[in-house]
């Protein structure tokens, strides 16, 4: 009984702590936010937030009917708990004063202290910047849930993403965006590893972690078998549409202003999504004879993943290649699981891991705007990209390995066989998705 209450108690304790914190007063600081940039970053934050319901649909449509709510909850609960984690320590670890280039000081901006509505980050209120970045912190662990779907315990999942977000995501964000060792001006010849909107920080890290987790946790009961078909592909298509929509905020918002770079990021993002869909559909057509709706949805996401690190650095023509390549390569990526025999339920690794790697490398090749890639003769950038991928991948994999092992041993990560057969909706949430 005591154990069951630990989590709520923790929350209540923290809330109590808050109450003694001195209230924050508005200060008058001379420079004020630019309304146009602020408008764009407010809506960009909202757009990225919408990606979580989008992801819930995208994933929820692919699982079996009996797990649809469970799968959707993986995204929704991530939005819930990661937001709170971000406010307490996540933002501070990612963007606080750097401790040796590895992570920010978690206490520096603990509970956003010292920040008022008038505090600016560039031309926008820091509060808005915090929100924009916080949405990334929420969606990244949720991406992993695609690999684990249909077999895991809800409370272990919640614990896992809280720890993973704190130990993997926030430090990686610091490395690349928070002034850490992979940022421009630091190591790697001072060029840094380019990652405009999170190819490595978001997609590669979640994809590789997904792979490690499913290898450790094992296959779903009966996998592969005929009754593991997607239960509602209309949701998956709609989810892909919402993800595409939200990704405009994700990528073009990463310019942190409504400027020329935002315009560039928007156009290449859109092109890559379209090319990704075309690439995947053509691959399907050639390999399995028919282009499918699931293929279109998958290709859209693959193209978007691929362009993410490159979005502020490449020209439209390069976006066609990156997107199309992502569609084809990720199609090949999802086939891999059949060959190697792990059970990545909804291809979190096949799409985000493989696509994230492709995107990071492609950025090193095609960067021509505000950075110089291989096509402009700069081989060093490509090397840096690969170093970034390897470093982030190894780090994420190692921490995930430990987390999964520990949580499985202590809390138990998987439901038992009978529960898996009955479906997680009923077992974990006491509900069913549809009462038609």
């Amino acid at each position: 009984m005591f154990k069951r209450q630990t989590f709520p108690c923790l929350i209540l304790l923290l809330l109590a702590v808050l109450l003694v914190q001195p209230p924050v007063f508005a200060e008058t600081s001379s420079p004020t936010a630019n309304p146009g940039d602020t408008a764009w970053m407010l809506i960009s934050s909202a757009l990225v937030m919408l990606m979580l319901p989008g992801l819930a649909l995208f994933y929820g449509g692919m699982v079996r009917r009996k797990n649809v709510l469970s799968s959707m909850m993986h995204s929704f609960v991530a939005l819930g708990v990661m937001t709170i984690q971000w406010i307490f320590i996540g933002y501070s670890i990612a963007f606080g004063d750097s401790i040796g280039g590895f992570m920010g000081n978690p206490l520096d901006k603990f509970l956003l202290r010292g920040i008022t509505p008038e505090t600016l980050t560039g031309t926008i209120p820091e509060y808005v910047f915090i929100m924009f970045q916080g949405m990334f912190a929420a969606i990244t662990p949720a991406l992993i849930s695609g690999a684990l779907a249909e077999r895991i315990r809800f409370r272990t999942y919640v614990t896992f993403i809280l720890l993973w977000g704190t130990l993997v995501y926030a430090p990686l964000a610091h490395w690349v965006w928070g002034g850490g060792w992979l940022s421009q001006g630091h190591l790697l010849n001072g060029l840094g590893a380019l990652d405009f909107a999170g190819g490595t920080v978001v997609h590669l890290s979640s994809g590789i972690s997904a792979l490690v987790a499913v290898i450790l946790l094992g296959k779903r009961r009966g996998y592969p078998s005929g009754d593991m078909l997607p239960h509602n592909l209309t949701f998956t298509l709609l989810g892909a549409g919402l993800l595409w929509f939200g990704w405009f905020g994700f990528n073009a918002g990463s310019a942190v202003a409504a400027n020329a770079q935002a315009g560039l990021a928007f156009v290449v993002t859109h092109i890559a999504a379209a090319s990704g869909a075309i690439g995947w559909l053509i691959a399907e057509r050639i390999h399995q004879g028919r282009p499918s709706a699931l293929g279109a949805a998958s290709g859209i996401v693959a193209g978007l993943v691929g362009i993410t690190p490159a979005a502020g650095f490449v020209a439209p023509w390069a976006a066609i290649i990156i997107g199309f390549g992502a569609g084809v390569i990720c199609y090949w990526g999802v086939l891999a699981k059949g060959r190697f025999g792990y059970d990545d339920s909804l291809d979190a690794f096949g799409v985000h891991g493989v696509g994230g790697t492709w995107g990071a490398i492609a950025t090193g090749i095609f960067a021509t705007i505000g950075a110089t890639g291989l096509v402009l003769g700069n081989f060093q950038q490509l090397v840096n990209q690969i170093i970034g991928v390897v470093a982030a991948g190894l780090y994420a994999a190692a921490v995930t390995f430990i987390l999964v092992k520990v949580l499985d041993a202590t809390m138990g990560f998987r439901v038992d066989d009978e529960q898996e057969q009955m479906g997680l909706d009923q077992v974990e949430h006491g509900e069913v998705g549809y009462n038609f």
Partner: protein, 112 residues
């Protein structure tokens, strides 16, 4: 009275219904079922992975008729629902002791 249970391919419903109408059958009951039989082995590709669909969507059409019409109905359904390919389905003839129309309470042949 007999109940004739026909397991057919979903897209054959229209044809079966029309063929039965032509021989004067005006009532039937249809339900969605999934069938398992020789037709198994059908695979679908989702994201390039093959899934064996063991249960194939079918329709069950139930028609209650007086004994003397059984053969006629069976033959009509066989003709209308057949494509010649494995998975066309089965017909089962089942005895019915009594038939009642709820609206009027009528019984026997008058009830259908």
């Amino acid at each position: 009275m007999k109940k004739i249970e026909c397991i057919i391919r979903p897209f054959k419903l229209e044809d079966v219904k029309e063929a039965l109408s032509e021989i004067g059958i005006r009532g039937m009951t249809v339900s969605e079922i999934r069938g398992f039989g020789r037709q198994k082995g059908h695979t679908e590709l989702y994201r390039g992975s093959e899934y064996t669909i063991e249960f194939v969507p079918k329709l069950k059409v139930e028609i209650v008729v007086p004994e003397d019409r059984v053969d006629e109905v069976v033959n009509t359904v066989v003709q209308a629902a057949s494509t010649g390919k494995i998975g066309d389905g089965k017909i089962f003839v089942i005895p019915v002791d009594e038939t009642i129309r709820i609206r009027t309470g009528e019984r026997g042949p008058a009830a259908i």
